[in-house]
């Protein structure tokens, strides 16, 4: 596939949660909760409002098609601000500082006075009906010559528990949004840039880690196509695939357009109530439906069922549009008979709709006439687009698991922005900007570690990108040998995870205590995996140490070794210093790993020598 020839232009928006102490506009902690721990619940309706320019945003208009009654879960860690029952606190200055740091890392220009805006979002994910967002910096550069257009500081939305129930723990966590220009031309380039930006963000040490804490939106267009925004790509590895599949989708839609134009496709309002035709149907969906309506799309036969992306047909797009009216989806004659609908029913339907062989009939099951009409209206709109001059509609889409995507809503426009009148603007003056310091990039850090600590280069890179980097840095500051810390973090912990140990339960303090115990001789290096296993199963460090490595003084050790040698005096006399190896094993098993092997070997050597000297005539 020649993406340059296809005219691929892609840009990305990266949303990364910041690890600040408090949320962006309230003083709650940035703490995620289990939804079963919720302490309260309430519900609200959201209405569309006009922008300050007196316009209604098209994406918001689309959401208006459905009932907007939303339920929210509250926690003992959320407050009235998340409930939209109290005006916001001032913009979190710690979050602004992190944004300025990142802006400086990309060589950007900060905005002189930061204004918080309300971005209209009435899908329920924000109790207020808008997401607060502020443009912080402009015009940055990427090492590959690409551009960062803007950095915005936003509040995270509430998490959907299911359907129209949202959880307020996540709402308000600060997010940095980094938007590149559409400067990328191959799927791989998009992925590389996303990886690079992610690395820069993590270099600050001020971003949250783990699944869901970073999300990429990808903007894609090809020549003749249109800008489409695919939201919510959580895994970096999928980005290139998402781009490939979107290019494929746009190309197929362009092909379908030409075909439909040749076939002289057309859309008429020929919709009919066909509920009566399915009175005796075996289809469970149709049997339950109060109303079934149909529309015949002229010249569409074979096209509605055409695959435009893996597992996605033109019919899937129509179905997504229809779902905005609250229906479950559509059936069309390109896929029927199926789903319990018989060939006879299809024939009757075609005849009833006066559909010719070149036409495709779409049916929809609804709860009432209005919903059915709304859904078929949406199908017509999408069908009309398919053979129009712009067969790829400008859309916001959501990524599906495989990397394909489904329609969410039209691309929002500037009409969704409204000033947040409850938050005062914040001035970023020259003093603040000059005082903003830039941290070392993780890639540079990896090089430095490799050199300073003589760590293998691959190891150093893995360490720098690891979530446990701050732990490593703390360990080194506390005097732990770097190699010991690296080995535990990258090798031991990984092996334990693979064997099923829940290493996530081991705190940084426990790691440090373990290393200190090893360094001071209280525990043997060899005992680390056992210690970590016990820690992961919930025991305290002291309990674990007592169990696995009872404290043995040097004196105790000497007398243990003395006794072992005395018991085996013949063997020692026979082997001389060569007895050391076999006796090491005996001593280590006796002291159960609680003493460093080096010390054991040192004392053993001395005691063997003494035993040999004693027995000499």
């Amino acid at each position: 596939m020649d993406y340059k020839a296809a005219g691929l232009k892609a840009g990305i928006e990266i949303h990364q949660q910041l690890n600040t102490k408090e949320k962006l506009f309230c003083h709650c902690q940035t703490l995620l909760r289990d939804s079963s721990e919720h302490s309260g619940e309430f519900f609200r309706y959201l209405r569309v409002t006009e922008s300050e320019m007196g316009e209604i945003d098209r994406a918001a208009q689309e959401e208006m098609k459905r009932d907007r009654k939303f339920h929210y879960y509250t926690y003992d860690t959320t407050c009235l601000i998340e409930n939209d029952e109290e005006p916001p606190a001032p913009l979190n200055d710690e979050a602004l500082s992190v944004c300025l740091t990142i802006a400086k890392m990309f060589g950007m220009t900060p905005v002189q006075q930061v204004h918080t805006m309300r971005k209209l979002v009435i899908d329920g994910s924000n109790t207020s009906g808008f997401q607060r967002t502020a443009l912080v910096a402009l015009n940055g550069a990427l090492p590959n010559g690409g551009e960062i257009e803007t950095i915005c500081l936003e509040e995270e939305a509430a998490q959907r528990v299911k359907d129209d129930i949202f959880s307020l723990d996540r709402l308000g966590i600060p997010l940095i949004e980094i938007t590149t220009s559409p400067c990328m031309h191959t799927p791989e380039e998009v992925q590389e840039v996303a990886e690079y930006i992610g690395m820069v963000l993590r270099s600050t040490g001020k971003v949250k880690r783990g699944i869901g804490t970073i999300r990429q939106d990808v903007n894609i267009s090809i020549r003749g196509g249109a800008r489409v925004e695919i939201k919510g790509v959580q895994e970096l590895d999928l980005i290139a695939e998402v781009v490939r599949r979107e290019v494929q989708r746009q190309q197929n839609l362009l092909g379908i357009r030409n075909e439909l134009q040749q076939k002289k496709a057309s859309i008429h309002d020929n919709s009919k109530n066909v509920t009566g035709l399915f009175k005796e149907t075996k289809s469970t969906v149709l049997k339950k439906a109060k109303r079934i309506y149909a529309i015949s799309l002229e010249g569409f036969a074979g096209v509605v069922g055409r695959e435009i992306q893996p597992d996605r047909r033109l019919g899937s797009e129509m179905s997504d549009y229809a779902k905005k009216c609250g229906v479950g989806g559509i059936f069309h004659t390109d896929e029927l008979p199926a789903y319990g609908v018989t060939a006879e029913e299809v024939a009757r339907l075609r005849a009833h709709m006066n559909a010719g062989v070149h036409d495709c009939v779409v049916i929809v099951a609804a709860v009432n006439d209005n919903q059915a009409a709304c859904a078929l209206d949406q199908v017509s709109i999408r069908a009309q687009l398919a053979f129009s001059e712009k067969p790829v509609p400008e859309e916001t889409r959501k990524m599906l698991e495989s990397g394909s995507s489904a329609y969410m809503r039209p691309l929002p426009g500037p009409a969704r922005m409204y000033p947040e009148t409850d938050v005062l603007p914040v001035i970023v003056d020259d003093d603040r900007w000059h005082a903003t310091t830039v941290p070392e990039l993780l890639t540079a850090k990896a090089r430095r570690y490799a050199q300073e600590y003589s760590i293998d280069r691959n190891y150093a890179t893995r360490l720098a990108l690891s979530e446990k980097l701050p732990l490593f840095e703390r360990a080194v500051t506390e005097g732990i040998k770097p190699k010991l810390a690296v080995f535990t973090i990258l090798s031991t912990a990984t092996e334990l995870r693979r064997e099923g140990t829940e290493i996530g339960k081991i705190s940084d303090e426990d790691y440090l205590a373990t290393w200190h115990a090893v360094e001071s001789g209280r525990a043997a290096k060899e005992a680390i995996p056992d210690i970590l296993r016990e820690l992961a199963s919930g025991n305290t460090f002291e309990e674990v140490l007592r169990k696995l490595a009872p404290a043995i003084s040097r004196q105790d050790l000497e007398s243990i070794i003395h006794k072992i040698i005395a018991d085996r005096s013949d063997f020692v006399l026979q082997k001389g210093q060569a007895a050391l190896g076999p006796l090491m094993g005996v001593v280590m098993s006796e002291v159960r790993g609680s003493v460093d092997g080096k010390i054991v070997s040192e004392i053993l050597k001395k005691e063997i020598a003494a035993a040999l000297a004693e027995k000499k005539p």
Partner: protein
Amino acid sequence: MAVVKLDSGYNIGVNPVSCTFFGHPAESLPKKSQVPQKSDLPALSIVSTGGTIASRIDYRTGSVTSQFDAGDILMAIPELAKVAQYRTIPLATILSENMTPAIWQELARAVYKEIKNGATGVIITHGTDTMAYSAAAISFMIDTPVPVVFVGSQRSADRPSSDNAMNAVCAASAATSDLGEVTVVMHATTNDDTCSIHRGTRVRKMHSSRRDAFRSMGIDPLGTVAYPSREVTLKSFAVRRGSQTLALHDKLEEHCGLIQFYPGMSPDLLKAYEGYKGLVLAGTGLGHVSTTLIPSLQKLIKRDTVVVMTSQCMQGRVCDRVYDTGRDLLTAGVIEGGDMLPEVALVKMMWVLGNERDPEKAAALMQVDLKGECNRRSTHGL
């Protein structure tokens, strides 16, 4: 700083010296409503005192739009068209903290005129900060045969989550109901499910920001309006439509004050009220101030200032017969304000002194229940 709107919709502040003047944008005409009014529905009047229900920022002038007609309101809240037909009277566009007794009087006259001209109910849109004061004032100034409903919003109308639409729809429903008194209709809970109907003389804003800030004090709410069904349920003690004959008594005596006592308060503060016709004290507990204030109060009373005692507890009734201080206050001539809310007592005092010049008769009137502000029995706990 100059505020620049970017194509993306974001605003940023930039130093004005780095801006170049290009010209003024074309003026845009305000949009007009397409929502038709149904002539078979009850006729309601909406008197606005501040732009709460249909306010929106005009980006070009930076101010709230001054247009306020039925069209604007119906465009903002189309659901209202299902409840009634509306006539609108823009009385004032003020923030409610800037409300004055003089505007209460204008408001009373406007409401009276609407009812006289056939309105079957009146809605008054009002900022929430002093809504309870105004509701009390209108309660005393008008005998109304129809519902007079105060309504506002705790979250501004320019946000999708605003309580304005539900409150307005519930207010309109209450205004078309069988009610016949002055009320406040606002959210009952944090959910968008019910509005409470409160008596104008027994309501208080009890939270600075929550939707359900308004609470009936010392009595139950008069009723509820369910949402979205708009079903109105009234308690038996709510005054019914047609029980009173329309009358306007719009005189007020503005030289009245309200002062909250606190430990260690200096008697000097009371000097500021010399020459005032009336003074309401929000005392502690059962209605006390420190004994050091009593001589100053006595002096005020001797010079014909009516002094009424209420309680800063908000709940419960004053009783100055239990402790020595209370008895001394009574001896000094302080009048017990029963279970009246301090601010309602103030508004009532303005009305009483506006209509009754004789201090003794006025003092007696302060203890008579006029519009449900004084309960003879305490039936309500906390």
